[in-house]
């Protein structure tokens, strides 16, 4: 297996895009390629994620992006894994590059939802659950995570302020991230006064609907030779799955796919959680950040809430979590999220995360979940 590097990573500002998904994807892709020091013609394969492209009446977007980059002959395919789509695409790029099939691969994630009304967008999100056995019984996407939160709260009682502290921390980070949808801090009072969506989750526990695009260039170490950026060495690229339906999960106190993906990733990297400097984790809802910290093996079960309240996960804390603002405040354009986590790690490694720097940037981990954990990706990066 060859060593694979991330040598370029770019994102637009999440929120509401005036242009179409295809235009935004092509733009961030060109930006990431230019930053990497490569030319579009160096790309051997393009992996695209665009779960809800059909809402723009556009499928098969890969060839359109490659055409727009001037490389129409380059093969492409679309990778779908719900909210973990572009980390799944990154995994495919890693497999191609590390396996020697391609010297350089492009990963592009893009989503546009702002042309849909909230109800329609909510329905699309719920499609990643099991329609017959969950959605048809009244579940929504927030409702499913709220149900898990309820089970967790029963096992480990916590005040509303615990989840509130996750939201406040992630908003504070997003306020310093030019890619973020919500570039403003919130107070505990604002959090507590926000309306209940699905108990115990309030509006400020939930990630927003977002448009956005992010792209990553992966290349073989031997192909790059003289990198113009500080590359992220991909030390592990692991994926896992679990039964989707909540009714078939004996344990509701976390996401089993995170646990198995993390075990694989740490084994692949030959590393332990204590060697990781900072994390980008999948906080589609505040409770999901607690699950991530425990399921990834950073904190014992039932203790992540206390760590959040005590500031352990703050940007200047012992274990900075989501310095980008996370899905919660940076935004969650479904298919762009996994790639955008890598953009944040790339910017931190390259001194581009101005005003939101974390203290140590030798290693980092990205954790991306599909829906309620039917899919999960864990990537571990280090410096050369």
């Amino acid at each position: 297996m060859r060593e694979a590097w991330v040598i370029g990573a770019a994102s637009n500002r999440f929120g509401k895009m005036p242009e179409t998904g295809r235009e935004a994807a092509t733009r961030v892709a060109l930006e990431a390629i230019r930053q990497s020091g490569l030319e579009p013609k160096d790309i051997g394969y393009t992996f695209v994620s665009n779960c809800f492209g059909l809402t723009e009446k556009q499928g098969h977007v890969g060839p359109l992006i490659n055409g727009g980059l001037g490389i129409p002959e380059v093969p492409s395919c679309t990778i779908e894994s719900a909210c973990s789509s572009s980390s799944a695409a990154l995994h495919e790029a890693f497999v191609h590059v590390a396996g020697g099939f391609t010297d350089a691969a492009l990963v592009v994630g893009v989503e546009k939802l702002s042309h849909l009304d909230t109800l329609t967008a909510t329905s699309y999100f719920a499609e990643a659950a099991d329609y017959a056995f969950e959605t048809k019984n009244g579940a929504t996407f927030p409702g499913l995570y709220a149900t898990l939160a309820n089970a967790y709260q029963k096992a480990y009682p916590m005040a509303p302020e615990v989840l509130g502290s996750v939201a406040i921390k992630n908003h504070a980070n997003a306020a310093r991230n030019p890619h973020a949808q919500f570039q403003k801090e919130i107070s505990m009072d604002t959090y507590l006064r926000s309306p209940m969506i699905a108990s115990p989750l309030r509006l400020y526990d939930c990630c927003p609907f977002s448009d956005g695009a992010a792209a990553v260039v992966v290349a073989a170490k031997e192909f790059v030779r003289h990198p113009v950026t500080e590359p992220l060495v991909i030390r592990a690229s692991a994926r896992s799955g679990s039964i989707t339906e909540m009714q078939d999960r004996p344990d509701l106190l976390g996401l089993p796919a995170t646990r198995t993906a993390a075990e694989k990733a740490f084994r692949q990297a030959g590393m332990e959680p204590k060697e990781i400097d900072f994390l980008e984790v999948h906080d589609c809802f505040t409770i999901a950040e607690l699950f991530a910290l425990e399921d990834l093996g950073f904190l014992p079960r039932g203790t992540a809430g206390r760590a959040e309240v005590e500031g352990v996960t703050a940007r200047d804390g012992k274990l900075p979590v989501n310095p980008s603002g996370g899905l919660k405040a940076k935004g969650h354009p479904v298919s762009a999220t996994g790639a955008s986590q890598v953009v944040e790690i790339f910017e931190q490694f390259n001194g581009l995360a101005k005003g939101r720097e974390v203290p140590r940037t030798e290693t980092a981990l990205a954790h991306n979940v599909g829906a309620t954990g039917g899919s999960c990706s864990v990537h571990i990066f280090s410096r050369r």
């Binding site: 109800l119 909510t122 329905s123 719920a126 099991d130 017959a132 056995f133 969950e134 959605t135 048809k136 019984n137 009244g138 579940a139 929504t140 927030p142 409702g143 499913l144 709220a146 149900t147 898990l148 939160a149 309820n150 089970a151 029963k154 309306p195 209940m196 969506i197 699905a198 108990s199 115990p200 989750l201 039964i243 339906e245 909540m246 009714q247 078939d248 509701l252």
Partner: protein, 138 residues
Amino acid sequence: MSATDPLPSAPHTVQEFVHGYEEEHRLRGFRCPNCGLTTATWALACPHCGKADLEEATLSDRGAVVAFTVLSVPGDEFLNDAPYAYVVVELDGGGRITGWMPSVKSESDLTIGTRVRFSPSYKPGVQFVKDEGDAPAR
């Protein structure tokens, strides 16, 4: 599932599960004779042990709430029903199923452990009400 196993004949379809809830007023499921798992989800092979030998079962219509949420913002087929509870129920005799409870309007109306009963109506999905009857003998 191994290569030498005959392909399982699906005892029923996803649509038949839904038909079971809504028309026959029963909770259909599977039991795995190999590992003993009871599931209310359609499958060809057991999600626990992988053996493709699932037997049809009618699950109990009574059980206890394992986890729940009260939704203020509903799913699009439940627009006029919010708030309502979405529940995970551990059924007596085995198997878990998710459903919804239109009578639960606030978080304080329900606790984990509350006894519930499957109560089909003209509404879609698996609908539960609080079970005011006696708990089953254990």
